[in-house]
Each structure stands twice: as C-alpha cells, then as structure tokens.
Amino acid sequence: MIEVNRKGEVWVFAEQHYGQLEDTPVELMSKARHLADSLGVKLAAAVLGSDVKELAGRLIHYGADKVYLAEHELLEHYQTNSYAKVMYDLIHKHKPQIVLYGATIAGRDLAPRIASAAKAGLTADCTDLQIGNHKTSKDGKVHKNLLFQIRPAFGGNIIATIINLDRWPQMATVREGVMPAPEPDAKRKGEIITETVSLAQTNLPLEILAEHKRPKKINLKAARIIVAGGAGVGSKDNFKLIWDLANCLGGAPAATRAAVDLGFIDHDHQVGQTGTTVRPSLYIAVGISGAIQHQAGMSQSQKIVAVNNDPEAPIFNIAHYKIIGDLNEVVPRMIKSIKTVSRE
C-alpha cells in the first residue's frame, strides 16, 4: 500500500499511441490544473512510451508544472503489464495524492490493474471532479480536501460522489468529452523529469500481432449543430430526414443507441453514455424519447429542440423548444423554413 501523502501532486496519465496524445487526458488537464491549484500542489503529467519526449513540452503548454517522462523501447506499444508496472513504480516513488486517467479503452484496461496492485481505490468514468470535505457519520471526523469523484451510476439514473479516505492515491478514470480541453499556452514553462525505466521482455506477456485502425466516420465532439434521430424515426430510409436536416444546417447527424442498434446509422454517430458525449450550440432531437443514458451524452447542449409525437417523452423535460407532432411533417417544415431563410 502507498501511504497518504497530503503534499502529493496531482497526476494525469498522458496516454499516447504512436506519439499522438489521446484527447481525453488533454481534456483532463484543465480540471486537473484546477484541482492542483485548490490543493496548492503541482500538476504533473506522466508520459510513457518510446521516443515521446516531444509530448512533454506539449503537456506543459496544456497546464502541467512537471512532466515525468518514462521512455523505453519496450514501451513503444501500450500493453497492460508493462505500462502498469512503470506507472506503479512511478506512483510508488513520487507518492502523488491524485492520479487521473482518461476512461479510454487503454485507460480502463490499465487503471484497475494499477489500483489492484497498489490496493488503492479507483472510480470509473467520472464526469466531474472536485475537492471537498467529508464527515464520517460514525465518529464525526472531518476529512479535508478529498477528491470528490463524481459519476453517473445505475445506468445513469443516479449521480454518485465517491471518495477515498485513506487508501491513496485517489484515482479515477474520466469520461471522454465531458471536460473542455484547455487552450495550449506556448509560453508556459515547466520541468521535465526523465525517469529510468527497467523493463524486461517478461513484462510484455502479450504479443501484438496486428492492429487495424478504423478512423471515426464523424467527429461529433467538434460539431456546433447536431441533428439526432431515435428509434421513432422508424427506418433507415426515413433516417434520410435526419441527414437532410443536418446538411442544411451544416450540422452533424447523430443517433441514439436504439437507432444504432436498429441499423439506421453507424455506431460512430451514437450520442450517449455508450457513445459520444457532446455539448453543441444546438441539439435537435428527432423521434427520441430521451432515455437517461442518451440524456447523459447531450444534456449539456446549449439549446435543445425536441420533436416527438408523445407529449410524455422524457426528452421534453430538458428541451428548450418542445415540438409535439409527427416528425415526418415537422422535419420537412424545418428544412423548408431554413432554406427559405438562407435564400432571403
């Protein structure tokens, strides 16, 4: 076990593949910066890889005070055991009080392995992090400046705040897309600490035989306007309405899990707990009932328009504009209206 270190730093595991930083740890940097500032400690990024020095400077621009650089040829490709060993050794040596990971596939593969080895707590898929105090009900003792690890649970129907009183470091994985990435500041200065890595082939029990990259068909996170369709759209053919409305608005077409499962559109377009979390200026929800799992991925949109023929649909609870009606009539009217305006 690793002792409680109240002066410990806040760390972000700076996941990279092929020398490219993942989005999620970058998104995490502004929140982590904020946590470190409120604790009065330094923010550090840990970057593991082979020949990744160049990323250290970038991480400083994103807000890190320090970068722990662990380079080794055996760290070229991510795999659980080698990365877990190196991260565990770094944590053991420097005793950070908080270690954060992106809840990417690699992050969710790695963090629990480290938590188990360190016998430390880990909270998965957080959507927010804060610093706060906790009073234990048994003895009334107040534990100050803990990491509040805030996450949806129970299929998104509740929001739980999880803490870790004494089995540190306090660790969490953070969902993709829930935190806005910081603007890089090229003038920021920081310290780069080169770590010695000792690894042997036995630390790599996995043979990576092949990798097939499949670039995402669409980047929903970057879209200013999103038009999303649900099961209510009815068919793949009818989903053309969603594409048409998205096209005339210069927006991106998206869907609920139900619509994806029905084969109306590719999974890359899925918004929600098991898809992408988005926060566009405008979100038009068409034929979407608004299951909590879907709302979790879009409720932060600045303006929400909902079209549904069921007045009881939960999506209306969060919509700014509620249109109760047949989507087959409403959507063409919207398209017509937009086209009329753009001709004016």
Partner: protein, 297 residues
C-alpha cells in the same frame, strides 16, 4: 485436450429498461422495483466459454458473488450448458467495492483449476469494467480486455481480437489468461429445454434453508432435502468467506477503499422551455429566433 474455463457472472437490476412502475413521482428510480437479470455481457462471457467447450472440450464453471437470489443466474447458466456453478454468499461481502470484490473472487478462482477466466466487459449497474482487470492482477495472469473474437486456442496460447476503440487489435498470450468479453462477441444461446427440465430444481443450500423457513412447517426437512438434491447432482455449490479462507481485512466495507459521499437522483430539466406549434408558422418563428441569437448561422 480441452480447456477449463471459469466464468464470473453477476445478477444486476435491469437499469436499461426502466418503466413507469419503477419511477417515483419525483422522477427518481425505485431500485427495488427493477427486475433482477443476468448481466448482459456476462452472458456473452458464458457463451464464449461454452463455445470453447463445444469446439475443444473441457469444463465450464460459473461463479457469482451475491445474495441468495443470485442462485437464479447460476441455474440459468446450467440451463445453457455450464457444468458447475458456485454461489459465494456471505453477509460480510456486503458493501464491497470493485477492489474488495476482485479480492473475494480471486480467493474463489484460486480454489479452482483453470486455463481461462472469462468476465463480461462490465456490469450494467455500475458500468465500471474494473473487476476483470483487478481480478487478473490478483491472480497474476495476463488480461485481454474488450475481447470481440476468439481466433485460436492451441493448447498453450490464445489468439484473440479485441476492440481498441478506434480499431481492432489481434493479440496472442500464453495461458492462463483472463478475458473480458464485449456484447459484440457473440449471440448468447438460449436455455436448452432438456437441461432446463433437469436443472430447474437445482438449489443452493441457502435457498433450501429459506424455502424451508418460509414453509413454517413443524417438520423441517432441510437436511434430507440437501442430501436428496446432492444425490441427484442438483445441489449448487455454495461458499462463504471462511471456506474461501479470505482475509477479512480485504473484504466488504473494510476492504473497500472507495466510499460513497453522496448520491443524487438525476432529474434533468431545462431552465427555460416552451412549446412550439408544429405548424409552418410555429417552426419558422423558432428558426428565426435561433438565427437571431446566432445559434444557427
């Protein structure tokens, strides 16, 4: 030849299908009103184990940790083709977080001879995906998470295809391994009628105890019932923490580093909301408004 597979399964509340009956008036969910189901991706893990057995031979043991009611998913596993089932039930397991759970499960798996441990990628009540990797660490075995396809088993090693988010990866590892299996891996088979007939009366000792108590009969037939089921091969194995020789320091509330500070129900609502007529005019007015405030440019 053949492979010894251990599948870890969990009974979960059906969080995906929350109907009106399970909702309180304030819009929060009444958890007790949700039906308890076999965690969906654990069914994919079981199916993969059964496919390994069908193809190469071997033995499939399912293990769950839970309340006595979790015996139901052990029976379901037997219907589908599992050879053996184990219930870990003990009040001292209560309030275990993922770390304590993985410790308790590791004590159970260590009692069994295995080549491959299979778990669902994640359970739909917590969605953490943590127990698999934590268990792999405790067992000291290689983990392959997000498995979508098992490509080859050749006695000593396994080749599998896993999802890496933006693509697929083909990996090979020496046995023993722990796999976490995604919902895309396969289509779980349905219960076999003959096996259902055979195992529908299978019970865990604690279920017999409870049924006996609810009967309130003068003559309690617990012991003879247990013996009878055992003779018929219908007694489901049951372990408590003593039998697992678990160190209580790492179990339950005490063994769990994470604690709940606060729980809030999610009731989302828009700050300002208004109805728009589905007519040409209603829609045109809304579009104009969105353009004026520069939401649409």
């Amino acid at each position: 030849m053949g492979y010894k597979c251990v599948v870890l399964i969990k009974q979960v509340p059906d969080t995906k299908r929350i109907t009106g009956e399970a909702m309180n008036d304030d819009g929060t969910v009444r958890r007790s009103a949700l039906p308890a189901i076999f965690n969906p991706e654990d069914l994919n893990a079981l199916e993969l184990a059964l496919q390994i057995k069908d193809k190469y031979g071997g033995h499939v043991t399912v293990i769950t940790m839970g309340l006595p009611a979790a015996s139901a998913i052990l029976r379901e596993s037997l219907y589908r083709g599992a050879d053996e089932a184990v219930l870990i039930t003990d009040s001292r397991c209560a309030a275990s977080d993922t770390l304590a759970t993985s410790y308790i499960l590791s004590c159970a798996v260590k009692k069994i001879d295995y080549d491959i441990v299979l778990c669902g990628r994640q359970a739909i009540d917590g969605d953490t995906a943590q127990v698999g990797p934590q268990l792999a660490e405790k067992l000291g075995v290689t983990q392959i998470t997000y498995v979508e396809e098992l490509e080859e088993l050749n006695g000593k090693s396994i080749t599998a295809r896993r999802n890496i988010g933006n693509g697929r990866q083909q990996v090979r590892a020496k046995l023993p391994v722990l796999l976490t299996v995604t919902g895309d891996a396969n289509e779980p088979r349905v219960a076999a009628a003959r096996r259902t007939m055979k195992y529908k009366n299978a019970r865990t000792p604690i279920e017999i105890e409870q049924e006996d108590r609810s009967q309130k009969s003068e003559v309690r037939g617990q012991k003879s019932e247990v013996r009878k089921l055992k003779e018929k091969g219908l007694l489901i194995k049951q372990w408590d923490l003593d039998e697992l020789e678990a160190d209580l320091k790492w179990c339950g509330m005490r063994g769990s580093p994470t604690k709940v500070h606060k729980i809030q129900s999610v009731v989302l609502s828009a700050k300002e909301s208004r109805a728009v007529e589905p007519s040409d005019k209603g829609i045109a007015d809304m579009i104009h408004e969105l353009i004026e405030e520069k939401t649409i440019s």
